[in-house]
């Protein structure tokens, strides 16, 4: 179902998500230092980098959670300016953040529909603005079943009663259910056990099979090399190089991202 070893540097198509020259400073710390980024249609792009390299800042800058100080972001060739995650979501970009972005005391269904709730039709919905709980719960249940990630007994149970893996599952299901153009996953397997990680990786492949490109931020080299079509190596706030996982080993990638080894010219570029 995937062609794992396409040579990505020969992209004839334009990138679907494209960032140029992004800069973000926090006081005296430069988290993004003139960073570029490209995501092509239908691919899984892994973003790797050491702690503090600025991966999460990059993801936040392209998903609207942070507004970059400089630089431009293009979606399908059109320049976009996201000032909130909601802007990005309206354009079909869904993000699973490392901190999961859920309200612990609210139910699974409430969380999945946070910010895009369904209202009942007719008087109850339009005038009394009543939520369509049954519809939202049915949808949430369907998506979680599709995902097969967990055995949720009660879709109304508060998220805080779920285990870490189950919460991750809900977050991924939310992104997969609503993301129509790009899905961004920040460390989706970091908190998970072996089997749960496997399910998330399968889900990633399924989403890709639907033709939706994915950005996967991860520390886990075996996972990255297993699913990624291209690997964006991030170091010191910018893109160091983009690797084809077929041409490099995991230890090469680790050496590049920690600065133990400099990439040769062919690896640089897109």
């Amino acid at each position: 179902m995937m062609q794992p070893h396409t040579q990505s540097s020969e992209h004839a198509v334009a990138p679907i998500l494209h960032a140029k020259n992004l800069v973000k400073r926090f006081g005296r710390v430069t988290a993004l230092d003139h960073c570029d980024f490209e995501l092509y249609p239908g691919e899984i792009l892994a973003v790797i980098g050491d702690n503090g390299a600025g991966k999460s800042t990059l993801i936040k800058a392209i998903s609207g959670a942070l507004v970059p100080d400089q630089g431009k972001v293009y979606l399908d060739g059109q320049e976009v300016r996201f000032t909130s995650p909601l802007d990005a979501r309206k354009q079909g970009i869904e993000t699973v953040y490392q901190q999961l972005a859920m309200s612990p005391a609210l139910s699974i269904a409430d969380n999945m529909f946070m910010g895009r709730e369904l209202r009942k039709p007719g008087f109850m919905g339009q005038v009394l603005r009543q939520l369509d709980r049954p519809a939202m719960e049915a949808f949430a249940r369907e998506k979680l079943n599709e995902l097969g990630l967990m055995t949720i007994q009660n879709i109304r149970q508060p998220v805080e009663t779920l285990s870490g893996g189950q919460r991750q599952g809900v977050a991924v299901a939310r992104a997969a259910a609503f993301g129509s153009r790009v899905i961004i996953l920040d460390e989706p397997t970091a908190a998970l056990g072996v089997k749960e990680s496997r399910r998330v990786l399968e889900l990633i492949s399924e989403v890709k099979a639907r033709g939706i490109p994915i950005v996967l931020i991860s520390h886990n080299m075996p996972h990255v090399f297993e699913v990624a079509d291209r690997i964006h190596v991030h170091r010191l706030g910018k893109r160091l190089c983009v690797l084809n996982p077929a041409d490099y080993t995991m230890s090469d990638a680790v050496a590049f991202m920690t600065g133990a080894k400099e990439p040769d010219v062919e690896a640089v570029g897109v």
Partner: protein, 357 residues
Amino acid sequence: MAKSDSNSPVHESSLGSAPDAVASFEDDRAGFIKKLQHTLHLNPSMVPLIVLLLSIAVFGLLLGTRFFSPFALTLILQQVQIVGIIAAAQSLIILTAGIDLSVGATMVLSSVVMGQFTFRYGIPVPISIVCGLLCGMLCGMISGLLVSRVRLPPFIVTLGMWQIVLATNFLYSKNETIRAQDIETQASLLQFFGTKITIGGAVFTYGVVFMVLLALVLAYALKHTAWGRHVYAVGDDKEAAELSGVKTGRIILSVYMLSGLICAFAGWALIGRLGSVSPTAGQLSNIESITAVVIGGISLFGGRGSILGTLYGALIVGVFTLGLRLMGADAQWTYLLIGVLIIGAVAVDQWIRRATV
């Protein structure tokens, strides 16, 4: 998800034979206490309801029909109506993990605006009332903007607003009270909420009806509308709410404005209760409203609790106050017991919270 065997790398090949249940959990918590803890966790307003019913029963047994009569029980409602309304406003703010120390001042200023606009400028009463309501909303809006846009802590903002609004109230009213007889003869609409409905021995006022309706409407809005869910989400974890697409700034602003408006309604109800417009009334409203909220089981850290709990909290205070007075006890006993209740309520809240996992 049957593909897992074909896709997975060699070192995970044994996964296919591993049991399929992932992170499933069984509810092995036996025992009444655990079940109670879990139920209370899901229904946070049950604790104050139980305490309320128990305290009514105890005072009823001790005092007999002196306490357990329609008249005495509805008297409690009348005595808590102002605090009940203010506490509803306070609940909204506390649900967003804020606190409003200016509720009492906002209430009094609004009532003074209603009275003075009518009597000093001769403005028709309905318009004066609308101006008073707008005044309360404006006070809430100022606090809301400072909290949501300037990002100052709610405690500081409303501590400042308390002083500002209260001083404005004294400066503007020149510390004058408008007498009850004048209002009754010239502007009886100001005393609207004091209108009594008598059913048998039970006496209700419009203010009491308003308090109950307000609690029901807010309970509906919080539970069944997107706005309500967002209020909880903001109080629960503001950053997470923002990332999941809630416009947190707008929600916070709307909550402070609504709360200011409710305080203004409390100001109107205050005229009904006192008969007069007094700039020195309602000095204890801040602390009384926070007491009702805490006894009602709303977490001061935000995002947990229900508005009906607050109503029960206000009623518990009313029951204790009247019950102890009828028993002839020193009024200090009331404060002492309310202090115990506050600490008890928070302790129970912490205990319930541990039912989380």
